[in-house]
């Protein structure tokens, strides 16, 4: 019997890291796939948080490195930047990555539907005035900005990390609300462009999800850039102040305020779950759509992956979950997501990367550990590049099996992969210590740290 035009094997809602990858994998397996996207094709990582931000940060970190060239005999007295060119570079990177384009999906034979998806039943999804049906559905709607509870937001034009991409020039002064991964990246980005930056964080340190040493090093780095860090500070309200803005915050039990040109909210995100999940009988909560270890929702033919199921927000996590979800969608649900070795990165300069358990996690769970912190200055690479801000920290259990690590160093995102693999393979500190590393490179720090632990 001929199939109805709007009947598919699989509907994927969201074309970001999880949804886009899933749709391509499923189409590659011969399935008839419909892919629905409400905003830009490619989702957040191609259009907002990933590729464009990385391109911008690359440019500004180069600026910072070049400014330090004078001690190596490289003159940087006439160093300057052209913001439209930086912006244009970002657009080139996005275009090359396929941001905003559905071509790759259409070339794979996927039916692309632009519009906001809404469940009308457990096998039916409405988009605009069209109703699509499918035997299986994957929800990959990602996340949306968290409601901060800050008063006066509706009266004041505030920025979000996405809106950096629309700037035509950096502001003179900016107040960054939130010093998590995104907040720190954004704060340093603007400081490197010469903007006067204040950053406020409710917790007692920068990057509160990382260990204390990370926050201390970043605090030093930020001080060098002239960024004013306000920890244990909660922003309570925003007000218009002629052409500027006034930020009112609580610090030390007192209400304080500051006049600023721009405010940017980097306060995190919450899973996007407002798509009529009740109509399909899908259970969800404030932390996201509830899934089992096979990424099935409460309706067994409907799966979910990526930021919409909660947890840390990252492209790597989304892609990992996409592979498992598609395997379970195409075959019988047997694959389970294995998060061991999933790294986290903050693209500041120096980079911050971590994997596995943090010391704080272990203390909270009353887990006995061994740890070592090795400063960058221990290795030759620090001497030859004259770079000292950072360290490698490795955590093992009592038997010296590696369970976590934090690295603050140039190219930390590459260095952490060795530890990520060690965790995934269940290796011990001695396994790394006994492996020769290039003595003149940053990786030698990892060998030294492992040696001290073993």
């Amino acid at each position: 019997m001929a199939r109805a035009k709007n009947d598919f094997d699989l509907i994927v809602i969201g074309s970001g890291a999880a949804g886009g990858a899933s749709a391509l994998m499923a189409a590659g397996a011969g399935k008839k796939v419909a892919l629905i996207e409400a905003h830009k094709w490619g989702g957040s990582s191609l259009n907002y948080t990933g590729v464009p931000m990385d391109a911008l940060f690359h440019a500004t970190h180069l600026l910072t490195e070049a400014a330090e060239g004078v001690k190596f005999g490289i003159s940087s007295s006439n160093l300057r930047y052209n913001y439209p060119t930086i912006n244009n570079w970002k657009n080139v990177a996005m275009r090359r990555a396929g941001a905003g384009s559905k071509k790759a999906f259409e070339d794979a034979g996927i039916t692309c539907v632009k519009g906001r998806a809404h469940f009308l039943g457990s096998y039916q999804v409405g988009v605009n005035d069209v109703r699509l049906t499918a035997r299986k559905i994957l929800i990959a709607t990602g996340a949306q900005p968290l409601d901060t509870g800050i008063k006066g937001l509706h009266d004041v034009n505030f920025m979000t990390p996405d809106s950096i991409l629309d700037l035509i020039r950096p502001p003179r002064t900016i107040f960054v609300v939130g010093a998590g991964s995104t907040g720190c990246e954004v704060a340093q980005y603007f400081a490197e462009l010469g903007t006067k930056v204040l950053v406020a964080e409710v917790a007692g340190r920068l990057l509160p999800k990382e260990d204390e040493e990370v926050g201390q090093v970043m605090d030093n780095c930020f001080n060098k850039l002239g960024i004013k860090v306000l920890t244990q500070s909660r922003v309570v309200a925003l007000e218009k102040d002629s052409v500027s803005k006034k930020v009112i915050f609580m610090r030390g039990g007192q209400e304080k305020s500051v006049r600023i040109d721009e405010v940017i909210l980097c306060t995190g995100s919450t899973p996007a779950t407002d798509l009529g999940l009740e109509n399909a009988g899908i259970k969800y909560g404030a932390k996201g759509i509830k899934v089992n270890k096979n990424l099935q929702t409460s309706m067994k033919h409907i799966f979910a992956a990526g930021d919409c199921i909660g947890g840390d927000s990252s492209t790597e996590k989304a892609v990992l979950e996409a592979a498992v979800a598609v395997s379970n969608l195409v075959h019988r649900p047997k694959a389970v997501v294995e998060y061991a070795g999933l790294s986290r990165i903050t693209r500041t300069y120096p980079e911050v990367a971590s994997v596995g358990a943090t010391e704080d996690d272990c203390i909270r769970r009353d887990r006995k550990i061994r740890k070592v912190v090795v400063p960058l200055s221990t290795v030759e690479a620090s001497n030859t590049s004259d770079f000292r801000d950072g360290f490698v920290k490795i955590i093992t259990d009592r038997n010296r099996k590696i369970i976590g690590a934090s690295i603050v160093a140039p190219r930390a995102g590459i260095l952490i992969q060795e530890i990520a693999m060690a965790i995934r393979l269940g290796l011990y500190a001695s396994d790394i210590a006994d492996t020769p590393h290039i003595a003149s490179d940053w990786g030698e720090l990892i060998r030294i740290a492992a040696r001290r632990l073993s």
């Binding site: 409400a38 519009g115 906001r116 809404h118 009308l120 409405g126 988009v127 605009n128 005035d129 069209v130 109703r131 009529g276 009740e278 109509n279």
Partner: protein, 82 residues
């Protein structure tokens, strides 16, 4: 397939006012709540092609629960209260 009907802000407002009247809520306050709620629903629905009545009731309940618990209760249990 169930029959569809066009969403009407005016019809929703009238429904809220009728329910408010059944609870003996003061007229001016009912009017304020209805206007606020209808605006909220209009914003929510504007880029969604098709929704269910249950969706509308849920969204109305979410808005009304900040304004009047009794009225919100009606929308949470619409179709269940005899």
């Amino acid at each position: 397939m169930k029959k569809t009907k066009a969403y009407s802000s005016a019809a929703l407002k009238q429904q809220i006012l009728t329910d408010a009247k059944s609870l003996k809520i003061a007229e001016h306050w009912a009017e304020t709540m209805a206007d606020k709620t209808v605006k909220y629903v209009d914003d929510w629905i504007k880029d969604r092609g098709t929704v269910t009545e249950a969706d509308i009731n849920r969204v109305v309940h979410n808005q009304l629960k900040e304004l009047n618990a009794d009225l919100a209760y009606i929308y949470k249990n619409r179709g269940k209260i005899l």
